[in-house]
Every structure is written in C-alpha cells, then in structure tokens.
Amino acid sequence: MFFERFMQAVEVTSLVIVSPWIQSLDGEPVSLKDILWSVERGKVPTTIIMRSPQKEPLNRDAAKLFEGCPFITLYYNNDLHAKIYVCRCQPFGFALLSSANLSGQATRALEVGLLIEGKGAGRAIIEELELLGKEDIPNRAGTKLRQFAQARPFD
C-alpha cells in the first residue's frame, strides 16, 4: 500500500526505505523495478538501508538494482531489524512503520503496520522517521556506506 501510494505521489522530495531484507518483488503489484522507475523519473533523493547481500544472499538482486541508480544512497547494516518507509511529497508526506520487509514473502505473511499521514501532529513523526533513516541509522558504528547518490538534493 505504501509503494502504491508512492507511485502516485507528486513533488516527491525524499524516499527512505529501511528494511533488513529487500527482494525484487517480481510478479507483485508493485515491483522493485517499478519503484526505481519512479525514483529515476522524479529524480527522488532516496536512502536505502538493508542488510549486506554478502550476509543475506536474498538481498543480492535488489542490491544490484540499487547500485545502478544515481539517486540512491545505499547503506548496509547487518544488525538492522527495523522496517520503516517514508515518502516526503506534496501536500504532505506519509510513512509506514511496519513488521513487513520489502519482500514478496511480506505481501503474503501476516504482518501489521501503521501508516502515518504527515499532517497535523503526524508531520513531526514523519520528520523524525525520515531523520532516523537518513541520519541516525546511517551514522551508527555498524552501518557501512555502499554508495552515495550522485544527484545533489537541490538539482
């Protein structure tokens, strides 16, 4: 639901994906390629944090896709267990705090999530979740930078 909404969002200024396991989602309603198509089309500065594909072979296909995208800053953290998805866009952003990884399995398993709208009191929550994904987790000792986005945020 989060990514279906992301695909339709306008004036997206930031996307954050924090998920230990990420798969290509081929055959799902929204595949990883669809998400990356939206990222590239909208030149969306995107931060992704997942476990290293060396440790988690399930992440290999996704890592390959991410490494080809100039708008993605990619980090690996092998202690990661949080699942957070944040989209900043007009007129207000939204975020999903969930038990579900960005994987095909998660679309069929029993998961729960909380979708937060970035208006009213939700705005501060969205901002905090975004900073959690863009600064707090990346700047922890156990997080390794894999690739810096090539695009400047004010391009």
Partner: protein, 410 residues
C-alpha cells in the same frame, strides 16, 4: 577510540546526537547577519513601547530560519522579562483548507490559540488571579468580569463563570469548559446550566474578545502580555470565503485598544506580495502596525537578508560548527590523531579551505543561500568523511577535494 567503532557524533565531536540545529532547544542562537537581528529587536522594543505588545511578522524562504527565529524571540522574552514583558505561545496556522470546515474560519485559528495557551497556563492564571487582591470583596467570577474589557456583558459574565468554575480547583473535568471556550456547540439544557453561561461563542467577534479578555487577565495577574508566535502564516493565503471574519479578528488583534495580546507571524516567501491578502487587504491592519504596503519590511522583517553577503554565510557556518561542537572532545581527538596541523577544534572535520569551498559553491545560486540547505550540505559532507574514515579505519578529513567530490556531483 577506533575509527571503525565511532558514530558520526564521535567523529565530528558533536555535543548532540545529530548534525542538526533544533529550532526549540537551540533557540538562544541567532545566526547570520546581525543587522537583521537588530532590526527585529528594534521592532519588538518599539512595539512594546508604542503598542504595549509585539505586533509584527517575519518573512523568508523555506529553510531561512523562520521557525528558529520565532523560538529565538521566545528565548529572548523568557531571558529578559523586564524589557520583554510577554509570555510567548507557539502555534502553526497550517494547514488551512476551506474545503474542510474543521480546518477553516476564525474558529479553527481560535482553537489553535486556545490549545497553545493550554489548560496548565489557564489554571495557573486563574489561581494566581484568585490570590491577587487581599482586600477583595467581590467573588472570583465577579472580579474577573470587571477585568475583562472586550465583548458584551453576557460574554464577559459567561467567560468569568467558565474560568472561575472550572480552572480554579482541579475537582472536575474541564472538557465542557474547553468546548465552550473553543466555540463548540453545547447540548441544550444541562451543559449550559452547569457552565453558568448565558451565551455561546457564536461568531469570530466573541472568540477574539474571549482571547483578548484572557490577555487582560494575564496582564492583571502577571504584569505581562501574551505573544502568539504564529508559524506558517502563508497558509492564510488560501482564505477566500472566510476573509471578512478572519480579517476582522486580526484587525482587533492589531488594534491599539488591545495592548495585551500580540503576535509575531512567520510567513513563507519574500516581497510584499507574500503577506496573505486576508492580512494586507484592506490595509487597515497594516496601518495599525504602522506601515503601508510600501514599507512593509518595517513590520515584517525579511529573513532573506540573514545571509546577504558571502561573509554572512561564512559566519553562519563558523557559528554553527562551534555551536554544535564539544570543544574538549574535539581538542582531544585532534591531539590523539595528530591532526593539529590540519584541523582546528572549531572547524573539525572540515579544513578551512573546505569551508571556503562550501561558501563558494552555495553562494552561486540564491536558492542555496539558505540556512537549512547549508546545514544539510555540511552534514552530507561530514557524513561522507565519516563513512570513508570507517571504511579505511583512518580519520578522513573533509578537505576541499572531498567536498568537491560530494557537492559537485550531478
């Protein structure tokens, strides 16, 4: 400490978890061109002298520091109550949407004002007022009513009864009182009888009179006024159908007759057209603020000039880096890693040349002469140095070459 085990906070010797400035907790800082700060203070001092309470505004682009400046005003008032006798309350006017009844009209703004004042403050004021005159002969409600100067007799009586009946002692729920104060519809019969009210707040006039009367009570009790710090006032640009009532409410706030409830409204954008029409047209509000559309800058301070020269940007960066730095830790790190000939504790992890580079790159476009973007870019470059340092287990300095490789990427 081993570089691989460091977090960014350790690597940059920050006195906080993030490479960030928080508008509220860092409110004592005022970065950039000092002349703008002086203009703002001058307007506030003049407002206290002439209008009894500040009635002015701030304008600036996204990220220029409007919210931070509002909190800075609050800090100044808290620090110097003798020269700034007002208690500040922060509220965001956004979102405003006339398609949604609950998000439009003066009632919506009135609710935000009351929520900003809050139960704790109202209770404190009522309790302090109750202790005031030792030779008081009238009961609390009657004494309050005498203090109120705005609205009709029924409104004054009703407000006095609500405040005296519900906020003096913590014996019953204040929900009915808040419903009345916010102008919500009350159930006929029981509720109005319990509250002791003879009228409800039916229109914007009654609502603004209620806020102004609370201001009278605060002045009498504490000797101070109330200043409403209204952020995101640009959302009032969407006012169309409710123009008359909202304009009139602001007019009453701006009027010379009110010296107890002031406002500082911060609005996104620049130039005279940035003031929402509901405030600027007709110009009777502006004239009460002592300006016309031509010299509007005197009442609405333009924060774009905070970074007016390249030297302002550099001084902004220098002040920022020192403000977020733990000096002791920085000096220790420089000594441990043998960096004394390359870095100063103030600039760490940046070389002086790199900071000149930040100014050179960001000064090129007016859009990037912006406090928030400067902080974001510094944080990005510092994070790049940190991650390279972790990968090599060596302290990587954010020098000009690294800076160019990060900031000039396309």
């Amino acid at each position: 400490m081993d570089i691989r085990e460091m977090e960014l906070k350790d690597y940059c010797c920050l006195n906080r978890p993030r490479f960030r400035v928080d508008p509220e907790s860092d409110a004592e800082w005022f970065f950039g061109n000092k002349q703008v700060n002086e203009e703002l203070l001058s307007r506030i001092r003049s407002d206290f002298a002439v209008r009894g309470i500040p009635k002015c505004g701030l304008i600036g682009r996204f990220g220029a520091g409007k919210t931070h400046t509002l909190y800075h005003i609050k800090y100044l008032f808290d620090k110097d109550p003798d020269n700034c006798p007002a208690t500040c309350f922060f509220l965001r006017l956004a979102p405003y949407d006339e398609k949604i009844p609950d998000l439009s009209g003066w009632k919506y703004i009135h609710s935000k004002i009351l929520d900003a004042l809050g139960e704790g403050f109202l209770r404190q004021i009522v309790q302090e007022f109750d202790r005031l005159p030792e030779d008081r002969t009238a009961d609390l409600s009657e004494e309050m009513k005498r203090t109120f100067r705005f609205g009709d007799e029924n409104l004054k009586r009703s407000l006095a009864n609500v405040l005296a009946g519900y906020f003096l002692r913590e014996t019953k729920s204040t929900i009915p009182a808040w419903q009345w104060l916010r102008g919500s519809k009350l159930e006929k019969g029981g509720a109005t009888q319990d509250l002791g009210v003879t009228k409800t707040l039916e229109n914007a006039n009654d609502m603004i009179a209620t806020v102004l009367n609370i201001g009278n009570l605060v002045r009498k009790t504490t000797g101070k006024g109330i200043t409403l710090l209204m952020d995101e006032a640009q959302s009032l640009k969407d006012v169309e159908k409710r123009h008359i009532e909202i304009h009139d409410a602001f007019l009453q706030l701006a009027d010379d007759d009110n010296q107890d409830v002031g406002f500082v409204m911060a609005s996104f954008g620049e130039g005279p057209q940035i003031i929402p029409n509901v405030i600027a047209k007709p110009d009777d509000i502006l004239s009460r603020l002592g300006v016309t559309i031509r010299n509007i800058d005197e009442a609405f301070i333009n924060l774009m000039r905070l970074i007016k020269e390249e030297t302002d940007m550099r001084s902004f960066i220098d002040d920022l880096l020192q403000g977020i730095k733990d000096r002791g830790k920085a000096e220790q790190l420089i000594s441990e890693k043998g960096l004394a000939n390359k870095l100063t504790w103030q600039n760490l992890p940046f070389t002086d040349d790199a900071l000149s580079g930040v100014v050179e790159i960001l000064w090129q476009s007016e859009l990037t002469r912006n406090a928030r973007l400067i902080i974001n870019e510094l944080a990005r470059v510092a994070a790049a140095a940190y991650h390279q340092g972790k990968a090599t287990n060596q302290y990587v300095i954010a020098d000009r070459a690294l800076l160019d490789s990060i900031m000039k990427r396309r």
